[in-house]
Each structure stands twice: as C-alpha cells, then as structure tokens.
C-alpha cells in the first residue's frame, strides 16, 4: 500500500503537523510506503534547529520518520518562497516540484490532505 500525506500547515500553531506524523507512523507500522509531502506553510516543519518548549519537536519526529523510510519531501516552490535552501532543512528531506506529488498520486492507494 502506498500512502501520500500532504501537509499544508506549519508546526505548533496548530496540531496538524503532529497528526500528520502520527498517521505516517501508523501507516509505516502497517508496512505501507509513505510519502510526506510538505506544501505551503507545511515546509516549515523540516526547518533545522527547532526548539519548542511546550510541544513535541516536529523536526525530530520528521527526522525519525525519514530514518525509518518515509520519503519526506518539501515543495520546491513553497520552500523557495519562504527562503529555505537544502542546508536549512532536516537531513533525509528533499525539495521536489509539485509534479513529484502529482506523479505519486497516480500510484497511491490513499491520499490525505491535512491542514485545510
């Protein structure tokens, strides 16, 4: 099974990023191929050096997902618009154009958008 998760919002202001991480973890546990595509403000989730005091660190959680085999991909247009380059983001994540997402939708069993 292939699961594509598209996250539209950044961490901490809302709970959406934590929900996306939990869904990715559960899908992974069930043996699914998981792609976490960070879109719009979702790209903030892979910013290096996050130090939240009251919340679970999304950067660390996403880095763990990447280590466990989740493809963590940030939209290139959205990342560029927000001033990010590859040196700024979590190891194991990458930038891809929106066509990457479209290509994976073609073969996905489940596509989830989080952060409307």
């Amino acid at each position: 099974m292939k699961v594509v998760i598209k996250l539209l919002l950044g961490p901490y202001t809302f709970e959406h990023s934590e929900v996306a991480v939990k869904i990715a973890e559960k899908a992974l546990e069930r043996g699914a191929e998981v792609i976490l595509f960070l879109y719009m403000d979702g790209v903030h989730c892979v910013k290096k050096g996050q130090k939240p005091r009251e919340f679970a660190n999304i950067e660390e959680k996403i880095a763990q997902l990447a280590c466990r085999g989740v493809k963590v991909v940030a939209c290139m247009r959205c990342a560029t618009a927000r001033g990010y380059s590859l040196e700024d983001v979590v190891e194991g994540s990458s930038f891809e154009p929106l066509h990457y997402f479209a290509e994976h939708v073609k073969s996905a069993d489940v596509v989830i958008t989080i952060g409307k």
Partner: protein, 119 residues
C-alpha cells in the same frame, strides 16, 4: 473508487477559502495543473468562501485568480461551483466566470473521484 489505473485516475480538489487572503486557492490550483500535466483528470470544486474564486472581473493588483482559473480550464481542469454556497452569499450564476459549471448535487462528483484533496 472510480478507477484503478493511474492514467485514468480522477482527483477532486475542494477549495473552501477565498482568493488573495489565503494561499490555499493558489495551492489547490497549482496542484490541479500538476496533476493534469501528469495525465490525471482533475476537477476543482469551489465551496463555502471558495466560491469567491469564481467571480468574474476580480483582480488584486497584478494577480487575477480568474485568469489563473482560465489557465487551469484551458489545461483541462474542470471548474465546479456549489450552488448552495453561492446562494448563501447572495451570488448568482451571472456573476461568475463563464468557464464555471454550477452544480446542485455533490454526490455524483464525489463518487466519481479516486482521491479528494481539500484546501
């Protein structure tokens, strides 16, 4: 599910937010363009405040969401608008871009799609 083959997949993109205030309509529209470019059938459904995206003659400085909708439509993206949301906001069919198709019933549209993306 409407299809199993990637090339004939149908994706419905629901936009619920107005243009210019939020990035969501733009995000949905770019996604639709990327999908049709990859051979996926994509439809945009404007509901709730998303129906403001369909108004004719709108423009914010150099940016016109109406022009972007025309670009998407000419690329093969179907533009649907929910009548219930229009009526609730005092809007009529005559106020919309001619490329928009007003629908009364969501069932057929939702049932015919393989994936549903919300913006």
């Amino acid at each position: 599910m409407a299809s199993e083959e990637g090339n004939s997949k149908r994706v419905l993109i629901i936009i619920t937010k107005p243009p210019y205030t939020f990035e969501h309509p733009l995000g949905g529209l770019y996604t639709a363009l990327a999908l049709v470019d990859k051979g996926v059938k994509a439809s945009i459904l404007l509901v709730e405040d998303g129906v403001y995206c369909s108004l004719r003659g709108q423009r914010d400085g150099k940016v016109s969401f109406e022009d972007l909708l025309y670009t998407a439509h000419s690329s093969g993206v179907e533009i649907l608008v929910l009548n219930k949301s229009l009526k609730a906001r005092g809007l009529t069919r005559e106020m919309l871009s001619e490329i928009c198709k007003v629908i009364d019933d969501l069932n057929d549209v939702v049932e015919s799609c393989d994936h549903l993306l919300c913006y």
